[in-house]
């Protein structure tokens, strides 16, 4: 039976989803050859596929019982999966992308060295709950700090002193479809629209991107009279007019989507 996790949130222990718990329990009963064979399977729909949450647990268990050969063999395969993720997700256009991917991969590998040591903060527990989402967090925090470091070395062009507000009617249809974006189906038209929206939002300046996502994807109010209410304005630490202006500028760009959607 899989060892319980030790990390807590809000006073409660994290737990694995039932399907991961069951898959981990089953994998623990298998011999190393079987575990390795399953860890090599790439098709996530293959019934023998070993979820990364389970693979990670097997590495930790091998380390706990001082089975270095099993630990290293399993960890190599997990790192290969992580490398594939990094190659797909860390934009090759970022200066130093190759080094950044390697740094992140090495940082991740070091978590296994720290695991169980006096300095351990049980960080790997998060990866046993939802590997991909935990690794997204791990990757994003490191990529962001690297981008911040690079941008501090390469001064960005100063924005114009006078921000010209683009007076344009917001397109109701685009707004409505954005609000429903997470719920739309999988037909080709929806997929095309979603891809276009994603590309367009990613291309927005950071402050506009944050305003659009907070208000139209996450569902925050732009601002509020109630000082205790969390709004897009409070989260961005600006007043509501600034949020409105950012949304106007963003939608001036996003409204073009309707022409092709």
């Amino acid at each position: 039976m899989a060892r319980p996790l030790e990390k807590t949130t809000n006073g409660k222990l994290y737990t694995r989803p039932p399907e991961i718990e069951a898959a981990t329990d089953a994998a623990l009963t298998q011999d190393l050859d079987t575990q390795l064979r399953r860890a090599l399977i790439r098709d996530t729909h293959d019934p023998e596929y070993l979820p990364s949450e389970c693979l990670l647990h097997l590495v930790r268990e091998a380390r706990r019982r001082h089975d270095d050969a099993a630990r290293d063999a399993l960890l190599l395969l997990l790192l290969a999966r992580v490398e594939a993720n990094l190659n797909a997700k860390v934009d090759g256009q970022i200066p130093g992308a190759v080094e950044l991917r390697e740094d992140i991969l090495g940082d991740f590998a070091e978590l296994f060295a720290i695991d169980g040591s006096p300095n351990d903060r049980h960080e790997l527990d998060f990866f046993e709950v939802r590997f991909n989402r935990a690794f997204f967090t791990f990757r994003a925090t490191r990529a962001r700090s690297e981008l911040a470091r690079l941008s501090s070395q390469t001064p960005l062009p100063e924005p114009s002193d006078e921000i010209e507000l683009i007076e344009q009617e917001l397109d109701d249809e685009v707004l409505a479809r954005l609000a429903d974006l997470q719920g739309v189906g999988g037909n080709p038209e929806d997929r095309l629209f979603r891809k276009q929206v994603f590309d367009a939002i990613k291309a927005l300046p950071l402050d506009e991107r944050k305003a659009v996502v907070l208000v139209h994807l996450l569902g925050f109010q732009q601002g509020s009279e109630d000082p205790n209410e969390t709004t897009a304005a409070t989260l961005c630490v600006v007043d509501v007019r600034t949020i409105q202006n950012r949304l106007k500028r963003a939608f001036a760009k996003l409204s073009k989507l309707q022409e092709v959607a």
Binding site: N10, L75, A84, A113, I114, N119, R121, F136, G219, L235
Partner: protein, 213 residues
């Protein structure tokens, strides 16, 4: 790095993981709750929520890609090397001191991950490579100036005697060294301070600063 900073870094990571694991796609309620629980990290949580929402948008139509995991790439081999080196360093740090070896104090660098080490390097006026040399004790402490040691102690907010004791310990391996499992990834040969400054890829300004201390 002092205890408070370590605790903060850990709490920030906990907060970000909590956000990522709460729901497949974060919503206003989840972010609102976490911002209230971790008000100091509201900016970082907000940035992460934005990234998670966009990632979810992009991922919906992506087929899972794992790539070829049958071979070991050079990057994976280097990551394994880092794992082994870090594991060795931590194991070594926990072992009782050899009676013939110089006494080793607590390693004030031990808890620093790669990003924290990079940040420390920046604050020290050097780079990550040089910071790793400090961490791994590959610089001969006899060649360090008192002002440099004081600069490290002040920057790390660590007691000066802890820093001095750390540098006086036996050197560990170069952080990215490759070695086979049965080999001992350690060398007792230490670089002089100037040699370390000259061979770490530091800018001319960084070298001048460190050598002026």
């Amino acid at each position: 790095m002092n205890t408070e900073t370590i605790r903060s870094a850990g709490s920030l990571r906990d907060a970000l993981y909590a956000l990522a694991l709460a729901k497949p796609v974060p919503d206003a309620a989840v972010l609102d709750d976490l911002v209230r629980r971790y008000p100091h990290y509201a900016v970082q949580l907000t940035d992460m929520a934005v990234e998670l929402a966009l990632e979810a948008l992009a991922d919906r139509d992506e087929k899972p890609r794992l790539g070829d995991v049958s071979g070991t790439s050079p990057a994976v081999a280097r990551a394994m090397s880092r794992f082994q080196n870090r594991l060795y360093a931590l194991t070594k740090a926990r072992q009782p001191a050899n009676i013939n070896a110089a006494p080793e104090g607590p390693n004030p660098f031990a808890s620093l991950d790669r990003a924290e080490l990079r940040g420390l390097g920046s604050r020290l006026g050097c780079n990550t490579v040089f910071a790793m040399k400090l961490r791994d004790r590959v610089i001969d402490p006899e060649t360090m100036t008192e002002r440099f040691r004081r600069h490290v102690a002040d920057t790390m907010k660590a007691p000066i005697d802890v820093v001095i004791a750390h540098f006086a310990g036996r050197s560990a391996m170069a952080a990215r060294a490759h070695y086979k499992a049965e080999q001992k990834p350690e060398t007792d040969r230490k670089q002089s301070f100037e040699e370390a400054v000259r061979s770490s890829g530091l800018t001319v300004e960084q070298q001048a600063f460190l050598l002026s201390l």
